[in-house]
């Protein structure tokens, strides 16, 4: 073996070992979820001992309502957020990237600044407004802000993307008599597909993982999202029955994991070009 080959092999070995160490906790959670109760905390290894689904069956109904209810709730919130972000952010991005108007630089600067704004600064008045509207324990407080393009990160991502599309396409369409809306809807939107897919994926994951705003707005168990339901499960779990809690934790991560597997390419491109979370 040459020293180069040895070096490469060592490097791979190190990278693999670190990778294993990093994913070990996740694997352990997965295996613990299918283990019999007393074994969870006596075996750091990864072989399942109970290998049945008792924890899932028990966990499914232990948060009050069937867990499927919370999965549906989270899915509805995510769906609303995705539609909102796709429509509102792409509209704003088109204006910022392609149209000339007075105040563009100022507004663009403000838009960039809002990416970094902590939500805490607006949460109290927002809560007051939404509770006046009778929207506490509905999904609207979680969806309406998305319809109004407040996830400025995605506006920026789409602006970046549109800038990469040749302007000649717009101009050719203009000469053919297309108005601004047609250029947006029929020329740019189809070409923006990768940016729209990235937006969809990140909106889904961030909405699914979100806890802070859902904790504030969803207090009625029937409206709980998966995150909030899981938290209520933590509170009601005694130290001895972690199996069902782990099982439901695993269930709550499955959608994110699937989206990750399917959308890896877009996720990596998305953060690489704009620097997401």
């Amino acid at each position: 073996m040459t020293t180069d080959a040895l070096k490469t092999a060592t490097k791979h070995l190190v990278v693999i070992l670190i990778g294993l160490a990093m994913t070990y906790p996740l694997a352990w959670m997965l295996v613990s979820a299918v283990r019999d109760e007393p074994d969870i905390f006596t075996t750091p290894g990864l072989w399942p001992v109970g290998d049945d689904l008792a924890n899932f069956v028990e966990g499914w109904d232990s948060a009050g309502l069937p867990f499927s209810r919370y999965l549906v709730n989270s899915s509805l919130i995510a769906l609303g957020a995705i539609v909102g972000n796709l429509v509102s952010c792409s509209m704003a991005a088109y204006a910022f990237a392609r149209l000339r108007f007075r105040g563009r630089r100022v507004f663009f600067g403000i838009m960039l600044l809002t990416i970094m704004l902590p939500i805490h600064v607006v949460i109290v008045p927002q809560y007051v407004i939404f509770s006046q509207l009778g929207w506490v324990n509905t999904f609207w407080p979680l969806i309406v802000p998305k319809l109004l393009a407040t996830d400025a990160f995605f506006v920026f991502l789409m602006v970046q993307f549109i800038r990469g599309i040749p302007r000649e396409l717009d101009e050719a369409a203009r000469i053919d008599g297309a108005g601004f809306f047609r250029i947006y809807a029929q020329i740019l939107l189809p070409l923006m597909r990768p940016a729209l897919v990235t937006t969809t994926i990140f909106t889904f994951i961030w909405t699914w993982n979100d806890f802070f705003t859902q904790l504030i707005y969803l207090t009625d168990p029937a409206m709980f999202s998966t995150s909030v339901a899981l938290r209520s499960l933590v509170d009601s779990t005694s130290a001895s029955s972690w199996g069902p809690l782990f099982a439901m934790s695993v269930v709550s991560l499955v959608p994110v994991f699937v989206v990750f597997l399917v959308g890896q390419k877009y996720i990596v491109q998305g953060i690489a070009t704009t620097g997401g979370k």
């Binding site: 905390f41 109004l148 393009a149 998966t226 899981l230 933590v234 782990f246």
Partner: protein, 316 residues
């Protein structure tokens, strides 16, 4: 170019061209632009700027949601100076930010450099390392952490196998609980790593070749070529991760069962803010805290921008 780069450019472009009379076509374009911006402008006014102004006002009042706000002036802000739990929560947050972010970024850069050198299976490794970033903010992983670092958790079982039997109960011990949250944040180094990888790919290979011809060793090449050329990426990651870390909430909330315990050792500023506002309904005080948080985050971002001129290298 990143959002931060854009802000730099906007600032540099400086003064505005004087506005001239608009042609018919330009007026039409402007009208179209504002139509496309209607949702965003509405969001800016109703969801962001309006509530910001309102929250500034609420921060000067005593307000419990039920009775109308009662004006207090700066009393909430002054009260903070004597609020020991609040001062403690600031300390906890600072420790969390300034310990976990450097460690996280060092890990991200280190692994990115190792992965960058034309390594086979890069895409696979990148995904594996990125996975914790994707899941790390979830309630489920925080639940997992609570068990990993419990008295009889996985970590202590592992230590027991190594013969260590007097390990602390990590999450239940005021001396170590915050440390477990730091570890959790470092564990999610995948996101900045992906950004580093993208930046490293921009470094021209010809520079390394030239340096190799001149006899530069591995370390010299890293220190003299790689590092200076990716300083803008490092800067970007530092700014972003600091902003994120100041706002961390979920992990502390779940790991401590919402209490910030044991002994307030995991009481992040955001968690105290939540308890104040949505536990005790002291909305005025919570709003004042939110503004303090904003000022702190803005101040550190500004310091970062100011300091960047001494170490960030832009070739444009």
């Amino acid at each position: 170019m990143s959002a931060l780069g854009e802000l730099r450019t906007l600032r540099r472009q400086g003064a505005h061209k004087g506005s001239q009379a608009l042609s018919e076509a330009a007026r039409k374009e402007e009208r179209a632009a504002y139509l496309f911006l209607v949702p965003w402008l509405a969001g800016l006014v109703l969801i962001t700027a309006g509530p910001m102004v309102a929250s500034l006002y609420v921060s000067l009042t005593d307000y419990n949601l039920l009775q109308p706000p009662e004006f207090l002036g700066l009393a909430n802000y002054l009260q903070m100076l004597d609020d020991e739990r609040l001062l403690n929560s600031l300390g906890v947050t600072f420790v969390y930010v300034f310990v976990s972010v450097p460690l996280q970024l060092a890990a991200a850069l280190g692994i990115a450099v190792v992965l960058n050198r034309g390594m086979r299976g890069l895409a696979f490794y990148r995904s594996v390392y990125y996975l914790p970033s994707l899941l790390g903010g979830s309630v489920a992983v925080a639940v997992l952490w609570r068990r990993l670092f419990g008295a009889d958790g996985l970590v202590n079982q592992g230590l027991a196998l190594l013969g260590v039997h007097d390990a602390p109960a990590w999450v239940a011990d005021p001396d170590t609980a915050l440390g477990t949250l730091v570890v959790l944040n470092v564990w999610t180094f995948g996101a900045p790593m992906v950004i580093f990888l993208a930046g490293l790919r921009q470094v021209p290979v010809s520079l390394y070749e030239a340096a190799a011809v001149d006899g530069a060793g591995r370390w010299a090449r890293f220190a003299r070529i790689t590092l200076p050329l990716i300083t803008p990426i490092i800067f970007f990651n530092v700014v972003l991760q600091i902003i994120h870390a100041f706002q961390a909430f979920t992990q502390a909330f779940i790991v401590s069962g919402g209490t910030g315990g044991p002994s307030d050792s995991t009481m992040f500023f955001t968690l105290y803010l939540y308890q104040t506002g949505f536990g005790n309904f002291q909305m005025g005080y919570a709003s004042a805290m939110a503004w303090v948080l904003l000022v702190i985050v803005a101040a550190f971002t500004a310091i970062n921008f100011w300091a960047s001129r001494f170490w960030v290298f832009y070739d444009d």
